[in-house]
Point group: D2
Chain length 416, copies 4
């Protein structure tokens, strides 16, 4: 078997971690069980370019259980867990090409290696497989691909628009069951987790300022309130601001919030949300962090200029002393605080996302041939099925429409 991982002796430790993740991935487990019985991917060659983590390992096992021949490489040189990669090779016999910290050249060699068995389906997290295929190789026989991230989807849509996309791609990113978990429940918990680990500060009684009241912001606000904070929201969209008010939060301009906050969390998707005038207004000891995708939400360059001194005061906590003597503490260099200072999303969050991946692959295997060369959303039936499986995995039983009810609803939708 072909592979390139750091150290096969790490396999035992990797397996433990994969099993721990598995325990909170009930949906993927149920999918795997069915796949093992029905073998819907028998003989389907798949190349996957994903973060090589415990959850991805479970996804690989699931595809294999369905009969697929999978090859895996990393979608980011830094996110590979070497013990997991070792276990995938040693125990699951998945040809894996990923070494944490690999250089750029190796990274692309690994991508090419993953494409070495002439896959008919691709799985991407950032569109690197698709790009590579479009650049060099023929991709005539490809049934389709899946894409995990916003960034990848934007890239692919742009390609589709220009008419250069050579096969259909399903955007897993847009599934309701992905969003719901990622943004609201995942980001909510893991952001607070990152902050508490980094600072060991008490949230109860503190004023927590959250910039942005989208799904992520709501999730964080709900958790911060649940920890006893006095939560303040800043927004630029009146509708969202109004929702925040009606949900019982104080809403104000950052200019005003800056003066009173103990913690500041940005999650807007915009840049320079906290900037010079805000830093200057903050209380001594304010804690500032970001939970948005890019580290541009806090204007760090200006903070560096304002500071007469800076130093690391705890792991992940850099303190900037302004000329006024006031200290501002920046967490995780302004990067996603839940990834930088905690473990990112819990496995049960990735469970939903990766179940969407597995079922989308199955869908492509069946229907790929009849799809156009476009970016497709996850079919709603898959989204709904995943919610159903998740409930089943939790042991939750829900109602079913009676025939009479189904008829009533249908007649209503038809407008009598």
């Amino acid at each position: 078997m072909d592979y390139d991982v750091k150290d096969l002796t790490l396999a035992g430790q990797g397996r433990l971690k994969i099993e721990w993740a598995e325990a909170s991935m009930p949906v993927l487990r149920l999918v795997r069980k069915r796949f093992a019985k029905e073998r819907p991917l028998r003989g389907v060659r798949i190349a996957a370019c994903l973060h090589v983590t415990t959850e991805t390992a479970n996804l690989m096992q699931t595809l294999q259980a369905g009969g697929a021949e999978v090859r895996l490489c990393a979608s980011n040189p830094l996110s590979t867990q070497d013990d997991v990669a070792a276990s995938l090779v040693a125990h699951d016999h998945v040809p894996t090409f990923a070494i944490k910290g690999e250089d750029n050249k190796t990274y692309y060699e690994h991508i090419r290696a993953a494409l070495g068995h002439h896959p008919v389906i691709t799985m991407d997290d950032g569109a690197d497989l698709v790009s590579t295929l479009h650049r060099g190789r023929t991709s005539g026989k490809i049934l389709g691909g899946t894409e995990e991230t916003t960034t990848g989807v934007i890239r692919l849509r742009s390609m589709a628009k220009k008419g250069v996309l050579k096969f259909p791609v399903i955007s897993v990113n847009d599934a309701d069951t992905k969003h719901m978990f990622d943004n609201r429940y995942g980001t909510g918990q893991s952001t607070l987790d990152g902050i508490i680990r980094a600072t060991n500060r008490l949230i109860a009684g503190a004023i927590v300022v959250i910039a942005g009241y989208g799904w992520c912001g709501r999730g964080i606000a709900s958790r911060a309130k649940g920890m006893g904070a006095d939560v303040v929201i800043t927004e630029v969209e009146p509708l969202k601001a109004l929702e925040a008010v009606m949900d019982g939060f104080r809403v104000m301009a950052m200019e005003d919030a800056a003066r009173i906050g103990d913690f500041f969390i940005t999650v807007t998707g915009n840049l320079k949300v906290i900037r010079k005038e805000h830093f200057l207004a903050m209380k001594d000891g304010a804690i500032v962090c970001n939970s948005g995708h890019f580290n541009v939400e806090i204007d760090i360059p200006v903070l560096e200029k304002l500071a007469r001194r800076r130093r690391m005061v705890r792991d992940g906590v850099e303190q900037f002393v302004l000329t006024s003597g006031r200290r501002i503490n920046l967490l995780g260099e302004g990067r996603l605080v839940n990834l930088a200072l905690a473990e990112g999303h819990p496995s049960s969050v990735m469970d939903m996302s990766f179940a969407n991946q597995a079922l989308s692959v199955e869908y492509l295997a069946k229907h790929g041939r009849s799809l156009k060369k476009q970016v497709y959303p996850v079919p709603p039936a898959i989204d709904k099925e995943i919610a159903r499986l998740k409930l089943a995995g939790m042991g939750v039983r829900i109602d079913k429409l009676t025939k009479e009810q189904a008829k009533y609803l249908a007649s209503w939708e038809m407008g009598t």
Copy 2:
């Protein structure tokens, strides 16, 4: 001035009530203020067929302030507040045609009277004005209409589909600022209010079963939890059921919930959600009510058959004694419990809805001529403006995008 109301001596009392409503309608107040200055409806003839309530009176005053010539009739013979009608005539000089309990003949005479000044804009709550205009009269000169309810919108969409709609209509019902307030915050509070008024029971420590986790169900669940209840959700949609679980509620089939609930609230939009097998499983003393639009959600006919005895035990509470001896208490005959047993939505909820009406009328006056004979949503700019005004009315200041931020967002949406 032409009018037909019950008793003009009620005008003083009506005025007090109109003023009380006004105090919690800041958005309409701000619109009125601008209208009074800009007079955007100068000389525009409007016919309105709406529930003649304190909030509608404020809407009429607002249109008048904008320069409109308004005539008003009732959209339901039972919802007219006679003192409000009297005040509209006596103090505001609005030709009003509405008497509580009027018979069917009078009801339609009043509709025709409201159309007596050849309006160019219509305002409907159930599409009766539009229907009347389409039936008998020419409607060539009509710029457009507005429609408040789902039922009316369904009727109008059907007409548009068949190509028989003679002028454009704006569906106020779909505005975000209407939904957000009506369903989540309005229904949430007023449903609990209706239940507590009717029963004087303690919610804390009780098991409250809510059938349906749409916006209304969420609103009710949130308020019931806030009152100390142990909330149980039933659903037929896996995605909504899953959201309920993730929000910390127990989710189960009605069959199981029936056995443990102290209170049952239906808000599904479907029929027979609580039916024979559920009644038979309920605890002695269970309280059952509905907050969905139609009184079909609880299968009352079957409850009547199951009961060996029935009697009114409190205002609005009918008790059915089953053959097992167990007692089931039905509130407000299964009609909307917040309307039947409390005062319906607070004025501040109607504020948003009626501000949408006022600004949609202004939009029709300006742009009606260029619209097609279709059903339109409320323009998003109006929705946003209303949220902005509501915040302003509450004294809440929010952030504005800097030029750099606006540019960044735009570039992002363009996909780099």
Copy 3:
């Protein structure tokens, strides 16, 4: 049978109401069941001077079931429900002496009539029976009494201190199971209920200022937060203020709160908590009410002086227009808003209180002879038993200590 009630034909209606209350008084029902079997009050003559309400009727039935000979009179001329009194006479054969609105002379005649069968146990709500007995009659044979209110207890303690109390009295007021329900859960829900009924205003998104963070204040704060309010607390005690902060509420001086509140609720037990400077600082349309025992918490005389005009704008809402033009709305004349504008505590709250009464009476019948002429708390075993019964009534099963656990705890308390 001796009695004096308004109109026996009201008995049917009274019985319905008594049954409705019974349905949410599970503890009293369980006590009654045991009493009916064990007859611990066989032949015990009891005089009760209580508010003649549906809950009191259930208490009387319970004492009767235990074998007692009860006579009942009103503890307040205004709180008698005439239909309940009629039902007590007609259906339960309880000699009842109470007519709503009776004059002072009749009130005391009724008290004397209740004492007409030479009771050995008294039950008071304000100490009027005890006072009467101490004034005129010999009370040598009295085993003891119970007292429901703080005011009564203060009076009795003063008598005990001076050595003039002639028999032991149990202060029901101090039981944990009374406090817990009355103050936290009862007052919390019913205060919000009173405010919403009186105003029909939306609580979500409103700033609700609560003066006082004792048990009542906490209960109200918790419910207001649960309804979506932004809650502000004022306090004079640093420890309570700190608890409020740690519970996630904003705490500030009334001077500052006055400027931002939409609703103001006093529940401090002190006087003039809202006074001149606060009224002058309030926003136009502020709503002010009291949920403390006496109507002195809001300085109404000064409000009257500040107002250039006053009028009733809704049932229970008086509007004061200040010289600045700003309007302040006072609910229920500053009296307990839950009693003045809603129905007071739900029956399930009184259930706990009256179960304490019933079991204290049983205790006096058994142990009264051996008690001193003092004011006693409710025996802790009774308090605990009531909590146990309440849980049983709710179908809640809890753990029991194993022998090993009981021993461990005991050894620990002994300090090893």
Copy 4:
């Protein structure tokens, strides 16, 4: 200067950590500021036997600022932070005797060294200084001592009871401002923190079973609910169980809870709260931990016997595979999960506790001579003062009683 620490070169790093703690110890900062001005401990010799942590360092600095001559040793050989000890010596010139992992002999030598300057006041966390003084040395000149823990207080009370205590001791443990923070807010946050760090599991949607609804249990329940869990409480005390029900939680016997829980947290103060029958009933993958003081609440020996296999699956997570194949995960060997797997209480929690220490020491310096040889609670005035300082430190302003109000309250308390 006399001292014994591990490595003085660690002092720089220690200082950073001490400063980080200082930033969230506003009360101690305010006390220190006053002490520096008033010097109430000028020349007072103090021996302190406490955990040598960043918070203790701040306490030492505070006492020094007040003029005291302090010597410090460790109250537990394992809890010493060597860098903090180094900084205390190098920067603060506090004679410190503490090395992490010191053997028993060294531990007692360090205690004796701390007593080397013939202190007049002792500070204990477990009564080791007091015991040593009572055993060997004369303690005639000692003004008094303070004690931090329950265990120490029990020991001292027993000594006082037997008449062998030679000087007065203040039990800091009982102060309201200590309890409030430690139990409710500290334990609540840090327990969830420990669980999330150890497992990286999602709390939202999970069933969290909490054994015990004392102050700690309430704190944990409130935080778990705030994270989106469905919280289940078990209790043996009916009153506490009832409170839990009224607070909206489900309450059941552990026997029933064992079947449904995803997480189990014991915090009862009792032993074998989770035992054989419960382990056998648990779902596969259940997570079990303890937040009570001793690691006896979970019956670990029986779990070991039930398991056919055990292994560490993550740091701090030991998995026991039962013969049924079901896996039970035990966190932190059943020790306090917030200490074993997170950082224990945030500094702001210790702030309150140590401010009580500092002010109690001042009190002893002033009044020690007039106290009896007993265990005293912290004077209520100190408790209140600390709450006041904490509010001041947070910038919260509260109301003061007017003269009229103070008089009214006083008259009321006198019972007129």
